[in-house]
């Protein structure tokens, strides 16, 4: 399955690997608590399923043609999501790492540009809005969090 939509939590699981696989690069798009300086409490993703599945499948197929990879797949969540939930999960597997990085980045960039999925942000003040895109169409300045403040809290693995 090259591209899936699901309204259930995404649990990444790489089950069956080609024995020549030397590199796997995954991308997780997570729900952020802050977007454009507004405090987000939750999100709603809505897809146009027939076209989204067609485009998603085409994008992963294009990656398999363009890059020397062994396999790739992508899953996009729909429905109601909360902070830190995985909205999209992408994986590319290759013999060598360069191609796996390139393919995964290509797939997420192209999904964001082409797949008909929309995001409604729910803010902590009760307002909601359909986001035009994560990082480009809003007219006001995308002032960044200071790096120091972001680094105050670290996360760990197990």
């Amino acid at each position: 399955m090259l591209f899936q939509l699901t309204d259930r939590p995404i649990e990444p699981l790489i089950s069956s690997l080609h024995p020549h696989t030397g590199a796997i690069v995954t991308f997780e798009g997570r729900v952020r608590a802050v977007n454009d300086d507004r405090e987000v409490s939750s999100l709603e993703y809505v897809a146009y399923p027939e076209l989204a599945l067609h485009e998603g499948h085409a994008i992963v197929s294009e990656a398999l043609e363009r890059f020397d990879i062994i396999g790739a797949c992508a899953i996009h969540r729909t429905g109601h999501l909360v902070i830190n939930d995985i909205a999209v999960w992408i994986m590319s597997a290759a013999v060598h790492r360069k191609e796996a990085f390139e393919a995964t980045e290509y797939i997420i960039n192209t999904i964001k540009a082409r797949v008909p999925i929309w995001k409604k942000e729910h803010y902590s003040d009760g307002e909601t809005t359909w986001v035009r895109c994560d990082h480009c169409a809003n007219p006001h300045d995308h002032s960044k969090q200071s790096k120091a403040s972001l680094k105050r809290k670290r996360y760990a693995t197990r």
Partner: protein, 80 residues
Amino acid sequence: MTILHITYFAALRDATGYSEETLTTEAVTAKTLFYELTEKYHWRFTETDIRIAINDRYRPPDTPLKEGDRVVFIPPVAGG
């Protein structure tokens, strides 16, 4: 006159109040249909904001419409 099925998603669903409608139009292309519906619903999107899907595939705005087509105007996407 052509009978078409229009489906609305996201901000266009909010703007129209409909998830879908069937209508009869004189519009020959998807682009002219878009202008016709802009008059009707006064949504805030312009032609450059929107992509067009006909029968579940992206199509150019000047695509001629046929009886029974399913037409979707795609507002800016925000997946990922």
